[in-house]
Every structure is written in structure tokens, then in C-alpha cells.
């Protein structure tokens, strides 16, 4: 760790009246073993940390498209891994992603996650700090848990590096926990999943009668191949209240008591933007692309499709369902659905009801499923809308080809 850099943020503030004034004393500071130049890329792996992974997130604001063509002001994280520290502020400002960049880890990793607070450019009056809460992290220590009341939250123009020794595979999520109702409603939420050690077994390993082959992927260290899948998709359920976002954008106090989400989303988009395989177009306000994550699901007939479903909305429970495809529920909250003595409690259903902070791993076996288009959608049917526009909302398509 002696090669870590502490680089002063030498931003040249452009002639944009939007930008907050820089604090001379604060700095962008990435801590990443083996990184020699502060960009969170490991240049020379540190033999003491062979499983280190580094990531650098900028926390700030931005804009996101709703599927009815309106744009909402958001708070968000932007992946600035690989960006030289002196460029991080510029790269991160007004670039908040919805959902937050997906973090994918392997069991056994050491994650050095640096968060730099690039400020809320539009809300120049707000000096809010930010955190990362690795939601569901087992045996968490409060110093890396991201609850501002219980630890430290990083101020504007400064960096905080979280350290996680990742030992439990499964589907997690992460989000900012500062002013949680506000910052989460505003969009600071992302997918996070951890692939199990079982993926890396030697070819031909016997798993209680199931033969592992190199390249096989599993949700958990199941010991029997029962959670094997071929393709996986993160499905993050969420929703936004446009009024809340507008109030935040226009310097009004956040209207908590009136919270009523009117855009129901999957991975930060409403239908039909959910099935756009590409990033959504750049923001009309900032020119920056902020919605990278499609939820169009394509699967070859016969494949096992893993849906990593997490719910990070802050106002209500949603039931989501498939059109006819059976969901084998193998995990809940990053734990295999098994009892303490190993009784397997997987079950089959077509619908899952979750509230904020819950995660479910479900596998769809497409063997024998006719090719064609199927749907994953909320059966709270009134939320199949993008605000006041029908045929939208919390829906995406599953193409069996």
C-alpha cells in the first residue's frame, strides 16, 4: 500500500457557472494496491493482494430519460476507474448513472472501492456528502458500511476508499446511504453481484454426482450444480417520483410526505426503453450518456437463464411476473434457499414480490420453451405506465431464440 497516491485535484474550473468552487485542501485519492498512478487500474499486481480489485466511483448528479421522453434530474454514481485523478472531477460531474455502474466480483476478491464526491453541479447550494452502502455485506464493519450516522461520509472534492473482503457469493446491491430517502429516490443505486468459488473448480470435478466443467457458472457454491446457469441478467426494480426530482432540481425541500412514484423502472428505464439494447441517448441537458443498462433479455432455447432481481425502489412493493415462464427460486438475499441442515427449499413460481432492499435469484430453464417473445412485468398492472402514458413502466422482454 506504499505506492498509493494522494493527488491534489487540480481542476481547471471551466467557465461554466454551474460548477461549484473547488476547495483547495481536498483531493482525489485512490487507494488501490498495485496502482502506481492513482487511476484505480492495477499496474503491477501486489503480491500481498493477488485478489485485489479496484474501482473508482464518482458521486454526483446528472439526468436520466424517462420512457415518455421527459428527463429527470438525478443523483448518481459514475465509473471513473481508469481516469487519471486530475481528470476525475470533470469526468464525474453531471455524469451520474442510472442505475449506478454494475459491480461484478468473484468470491475471494478484495475490493478497494474509492468514492470521490464530485458535488451536485445543479444543486450548487447542496454540500451533501455521499457514501457507499454495500447492501447485504455479511459481517460488515460500520466503518465500511456507509451509514453516515454510524460512520463517515465523504465531502465534496474528497475521496473515501471502502475495503471489502468478499467471501459470500450472491446478488447484492449498493447505494448511497446519505439522506437515504432523498439520495436513493434520486437514483444512487446499483447492482452488485459476487460469483462463487465453485465456478473456478478444475474441469471434471464431481459435485455429488454433477460433473463440473470449465466455464460452468453457478449462483452459489451449491455442491450439486443445481444453480448452474448459462446467461445472467441483473434486474433492478425501481421507481421515481417526478415531482420529487423536480423539487430537488429547483432547490425546494424534498417533499417526503407526498412521495408517490410515477415512473416504474427496470434498471433505471421504463418500457420500451428497457428493451433498447444500447445505452439511451445523451442527456439533452448535459450531453452525457447516463443509462447504460439494457434489460432486454435474450437466451437461446435450452439455456438456463439467471435473473438477479433486486429491488431498490423506496416507496412500495412490486410484484413482477413472467408470462408463462417458470421461475425456479434458488436464492434470496445472496443466500441459497437452503436450511441450516442443507434441506433444499428451492421452489417454482411465476411471480416475485419484493420491497426495497430485497434480492431474489431465479433461474428460468428454457428447455422445451417455444421460441418467441415473453415478458417480465409488474402485475401491479397500473404501474405499466410511464407517468401518464400507458404501455410502459416496469416491463421488459425475454427473447427465447
Amino acid at each position: 500500500m506504499n505506492r498509493m497516491l494522494r493527488t491534489a485535484a487540480l481542476m481547471l474550473v471551466p467557465a461554466l457557472a454551474l460548477l461549484p468552487s473547488a476547495s483547495a485542501s481536498a483531493s482525489v485519492f485512490v487507494q488501490c494496491p498495485g496502482d502506481t498512478d492513482g487511476d484505480a487500474i492495477i499496474d503491477h499486481p501486489d503480491p500481498d493482494h493477488p485478489h485485489a480489485k479496484c474501482m473508482h466511483l464518482a458521486a454526483g448528479d446528472g439526468y436520466a430519460w424517462m420512457a415518455d421522453g421527459s428527463e429527470l434530474y438525478v443523483f448518481g454514481f459514475h465509473d471513473v476507474t481508469g481516469v487519471p485523478p486530475e481528470h476525475v472531477m470533470m469526468a464525474g460531474m453531471l455524469a451520474g448513472q442510472v442505475p449506478a455502474p454494475t459491480i461484478t466480483l468473484d468470491e475471494g476478491d478484495e475490493l478497494y472501492l474509492t468514492v470521490t464526491n464530485v458535488g451536485m453541479v445543479v444543486r450548487s447550494d447542496l454540500n451533501d456528502p455521499h457514501t457507499v452502502h454495500f447492501h447485504g455485506f455479511p459481517n460488515a464493519a460500520s466503518v465500511f458500511d456507509g451509514v453516515p450516522d454510524a460512520s463517515l461520509a465523504v465531502n465534496m472534492m474528497s475521496s473515501y476508499t471502502y475495503y471489502y473482503h468478499v467471501v459470500v457469493p450472491g446478488t447484492f446491491m449498493y447505494h448511497c446511504h446519505v439522506e437515504a430517502t432523498e439520495h436513493m429516490q434520486m437514483g444512487m443505486l446499483g447492482n452488485l453481484y459476487v460469483r462463487p468459488r465453485q465456478n473456478r473448480l478444475p474441469d471434471g470435478t464431481d459435485l455429488n454426482g454433477f460433473t463440473h466443467h470449465t466455464g460452468n457458472k453457478y449462483v452459489f457454491n451449491d455442491g450439486d450444480g443445481s444453480t448452474r446457469y448459462d446467461v445472467e441478467f441483473p434486474i433492478q426494480l425501481g421507481s421515481f417520483d417526478a415531482y420529487f426530482h423536480v423539487m430537488d432540481e429547483t432547490f425546494q425541500p424534498p417533499p417526503f410526505a407526498a412521495l408517490h412514484d410515477d415512473y416504474a423502472l427496470i434498471n433505471g428505464r421504463g418500457y420500451p426503453d428497457t428493451v433498447n439494447p444500447n445505452p439511451l441517448p445523451p442527456s439533452a441537458t448535459t450531453g452525457r450518456v447516463s443509462q447504460q443498462t439494457s434489460s432486454l433479455i435474450t437466451v437461446d432455447q435450452g439455456q438456463r437463464l439467471l435473473l438477479r432481481i433486486s429491488n431498490l425502489n423506496v416507496t412500495r412493493f412490486y410484484t413482477v411476473r413472467t408470462s408463462g415462464l417458470p421461475l425456479l427460486v434458488v436464492g434470496i438475499d445472496a443466500k441459497p434457499l437452503r436450511g441450516p441442515t442443507g434441506v433444499t427449499e428451492y421452489y417454482t413460481t411465476h411471480s416475485l414480490t419484493t420491497g426495497g432492499g430485497q434480492a431474489i435469484d431465479a433461474i428460468i430453464d428454457t428447455t422445451g420453451v417455444p421460441k418467441g417473445t415473453y415478458f417480465l412485468y409488474t402485475s401491479n398492472l397500473n404501474y405499466l405506465s410511464n407517468s401518464q402514458e400507458d404501455f410502459g413502466g416496469m416491463m421488459t422482454e425475454i427473447i427465447v431464440q
Binding site: M1, Y112, P129, V147, P148, A153, F256, G355
Partner: protein, 445 residues
């Protein structure tokens, strides 16, 4: 604070929580029952349903309808009944409310009602002085609730809901279990009775009476804006049991534990809304639902169908029991610190933990892998003790609240439907409390 007494010698004695300074001196105590506050030792209860006013977390006042034990004031939530398996329970209810009311006991299968008049769900006590008597046999251990059975969409929101705990046959306060089997053993227990209130409803009932609700859509489209744990909104959830400034909201909801302790959480969906209850710090083991163990058969020696969750879907009217544990296992650094001033030993047992400190010994001596930012680059939390290490504190700049003089690890436990974490328009509040994991030897009071 709950009267939770541990089996560990008391060392550190000061607890500060949520701005409430309570310093208690406790000598070394023998093991004693870790308990939830409530009415215990009785099987006959004389209850009165009556109106009163409660305080919300941001300082507003709401009319509520509650249950008074004997001639006392109504309380919210209703008195927690702590019974023993096999008790024959009699509850005589006198109704001083302006409307008929009643009580139902979901999960109790030998309920009978006498007196009063027939209602939809049970017999009711008439308005303004009517009486009714309920009896039931508490023949199963576990966690239950009771609430109004008269227009519950109104009266539960108005406050008529409470918890029932049935201790198992052979309950030993020194070695308590929730249900009897060994996997239901615990060191400390805490109640999470989750409810909500729609302030419009309470204001209208106060100003115009219940009938006025019919000209509103408050019942078909509720807008709760207060969310409660044990009848309190955060931050009051973290104040002690029976504090003077909450005269009708006696029940605290602030768990404390040591590494390796088993904390029993009795979670009850008391209101009308679903709530995703999230425990920071670790998963918990969900082993009972509606007062019944989750197991393959009644013959199974433990709850072999228990599952592990980090967020629980609390369902209106239903109860769930969890065990929560925390050790810091495999964090990858020494939670008690390294270097000068942090000397300690770690002698692993078969599973790798030190018998006394519950430290995970393979991580012993590993320094924390990152530097924390200097104070001026961070906002310091009120429950931050100044040190990343358990049981340690450090000097903090002026202005830091310093509500954690024991250097505990503090975890927010809350509804992850973050909308539930406000008191009307004020954040933070609502359905939120803090778990404090304190160093071994630190007395929990």
C-alpha cells in the same frame, strides 16, 4: 433501553443513545433474563380502550386510540403480553372510545368471546362504556399479535394493536429459548412491532369523528406518513423504556449485543402496509412464522427450513422470528486494531474464534487495509466513535455528536422502503433504529 442483561461481567457502564444520556452504575451481575418490556406474570388482564395523544418523532402530536392496563393511560402500542405456554388468559375489555371496539388474537385457536354484542370478526364492546371478555389458551410458544377486530382498517391505524409473546414450556430465563429447540436459544431479545399511521385520519377523527371518514378516500387510499417501531418513530425508538417524555409510548426499540451473541428479533407486521426490514451488519436466520417453527415436520429437532435474509418482507398481521449474530468474521482486518495501543490476543477455538472476544483469529493482527480521510474531508456520524476498531474511541473534532462513547459498531436497522424513514416531511425518522455491537465485556443495559 430494554432491560437486557448479559452474562458477561459489566465493565463499561455508560450508554448514550440518541441524545438521551443515561448513566447507570451496575455491579457485576449474575446471568439474568434478557427480556422485552411488557406485562408478565399475569394471565388475567383488565384493559380499557381509550383515547390519548402520542408524540411523533419530529414533535407533532396525534390523537390515538390505545389500550390502558387497569386504570392507567392508554398506550401505543398496546401492552405487550408476556405469557407462558399453557396459560389460560382472560382479557376483560372496557371500551371508553366513542365507537364500538373489540380485540382479535390471530394464531390463537381457542379464543372465545363473551358479553358485548356480535360484530363481524368477534364480539364487540359497545361505545362509551361497553364491555366484553375474551379468553384463550396460549398453547403454543412464539410471537403473536392482537389488535382491534372492529373496522381494523380504522382502528389498527388509530392504535389498537399490541404484541403477545408466549414463553415455551420449561422456559429458563438464564438459558432462554424462543420455542424450546436449541436453535431458538438467544442471549438478548428485541421486539419489532411495525406500524404506521395516516395523520389525516387521526386529525379528522379528532375534529369530526369517525363518520367523517366516509366522505374521504383516506381508507381506500391511505397515505401513512408516520412509521413506528414499538409505537415510536425514530429517533425516539432509541430512547429508553418508559422515558418520561413519551408517557404513552413506553417501549424502546434499540438492540445491543456483543460479537457472537444471539439476538432474537420478534418481528410483527402490526399495521396495514408491507415493510422491507433491513438489518445492516449481517444476514439473520428466519426460523419461525406466525408462531410456528419453520421445519420439515414437528419431529425435526431444529428449524431445518430456516432461511437467511438481509431484508425481510414484513407482512401485515403476521409475525416472524429471527436470530441475528455478528462476529466480523473474514473482514480481512483485525477489528480490535493493530499496533501500539491495540494489543490483544486471539486464541482460536475449533471454528477459529477466540472464546472470550469472539474475534476471528485468522484476521488477527492484519492492519486495516486503507487509510481513512482526514476529519475535514468527511461528515462525522453522530454514532461514530472516532475509531474503526471495536471498543475504541478517538478524539473527534468539535461538533461531532459522540453518541458512541463505547466505541461500538453501530448499524442502522430500518425499513428499506426509505419513504418509511421520515416523520411526515422530516428526515430522518420513522421506522428506524440502531443496533449497537459493543466490545466483549461492555455491559449492555
Amino acid at each position: 433501553m430494554n432491560e437486557q442483561i448479559t452474562r458477561l461481567p459489566a465493565v463499561v457502564i455508560a450508554v448514550v443513545a440518541a441524545g438521551l444520556l443515561s448513566v447507570t452504575l451496575v455491579a457485576d451481575v449474575p446471568a439474568a433474563e434478557a427480556r422485552i418490556n411488557g406485562l408478565s406474570g399475569a394471565t388475567t388482564f383488565n384493559f380499557t380502550a381509550k383515547a390519548d395523544h402520542l408524540s411523533t418523532g419530529e414533535g407533532s402530536v396525534l390523537l390515538f386510540w390505545g389500550i390502558a392496563n387497569g386504570n392507567g393511560r392508554a398506550q401505543y402500542t398496546a401492552p405487550t403480553l408476556i405469557l407462558n405456554q399453557g396459560d389460560s388468559v382472560t382479557i376483560a375489555l372496557t371500551n371508553e372510545l366513542p365507537v364500538a371496539t373489540s380485540l382479535v388474537f390471530p394464531g390463537q385457536t381457542h379464543v372465545s368471546a363473551s358479553g358485548g354484542t356480535a360484530g363481524l370478526l368477534t364480539r364487540e364492546a359497545a361505545a362509551n362504556g361497553g364491555t366484553v371478555t375474551y379468553t384463550f389458551l396460549a398453547d403454543h410458544p412464539g410471537t403473536y399479535l392482537y389488535h382491534s377486530g372492529t373496522n381494523p382498517e380504522i382502528q389498527v391505524d388509530m392504535g389498537l394493536v399490541g404484541a403477545i409473546i408466549v414463553r415455551p414450556t420449561g422456559f429458563d430465563p438464564l438459558n432462554p429459548t424462543a420455542y424450546g429447540p436449541p436453535d431458538t436459544a438467544y442471549d438478548n431479545e428485541v421486539l419489532y412491532l411495525m406500524t404506521e399511521m395516516d395523520p389525516r385520519l387521526h386529525a379528522l377523527v379528532e375534529s369530526q369523528g369517525v363518520a367523517a371518514l366516509e366522505s374521504t378516500d383516506y381508507l381506500s387510499n391511505p397515505e401513512p406518513n408516520y412509521w413506528f417501531l414499538n409505537g415510536r418513530n425514530a429517533p425516539d425508538t432509541m430512547a429508553g423504556d418508559g422515558v418520561a417524555y413519551l408517557p404513552v409510548q413506553p417501549y424502546s426499540c434499540m438492540p445491543m449485543m456483543h460479537p457472537g451473541d444471539k439476538l432474537l428479533m420478534r418481528n410483527i407486521g402490526g399495521g396495514k402496509d408491507l415493510h422491507p426490514f433491513h438489518t445492516h451488519g449481517n444476514h439473520f436466520r428466519l426460523f419461525a412464522k406466525d408462531g410456528r417453527l419453520l421445519r420439515t415436520s414437528d419431529a425435526a429437532p431444529i428449524s431445518d427450513l430456516a432461511t437467511y435474509e438481509y431484508t425481510h418482507k414484513a407482512i401485515p398481521g403476521e409475525t416472524f422470528d429471527f436470530i441475528f449474530e455478528w462476529t466480523g468474521e473474514q473482514l480481512g482486518w483485525d477489528i480490535y486494531g493493530t499496533g501500539p495501543g491495540f494489543h490483544h490476543t486471539c486464541t482460536p477455538d475449533a471454528s477459529g474464534f477466540d472464546l472470550v472476544t469472539k474475534e476471528y483469529c485468522p484476521d488477527h493482527g492484519k492492519p486495516i487495509p486503507v487509510q481513512l480521510p482526514p476529519d475535514f474531508e468527511v461528515a462525522i456520524g453522530s454514532h461514530w466513535g472516532g475509531s474503526p476498531y471495536l471498543g475504541h474511541t478517538a478524539q473527534m473534532p468539535p461538533g461531532a455528536a459522540g453518541l458512541n462513547p463505547m466505541g461500538g459498531f453501530t448499524y442502522m436497522w430500518h425499513s428499506h422502503q426509505e419513504r418509511d424513514m421520515v416523520n411526515n416531511d422530516v428526515f430522518p425518522g420513522g421506522m428506524m433504529t440502531m443496533l449497537m455491537v459493543v466490545a466483549p465485556g461492555t455491559h449492555i443495559h
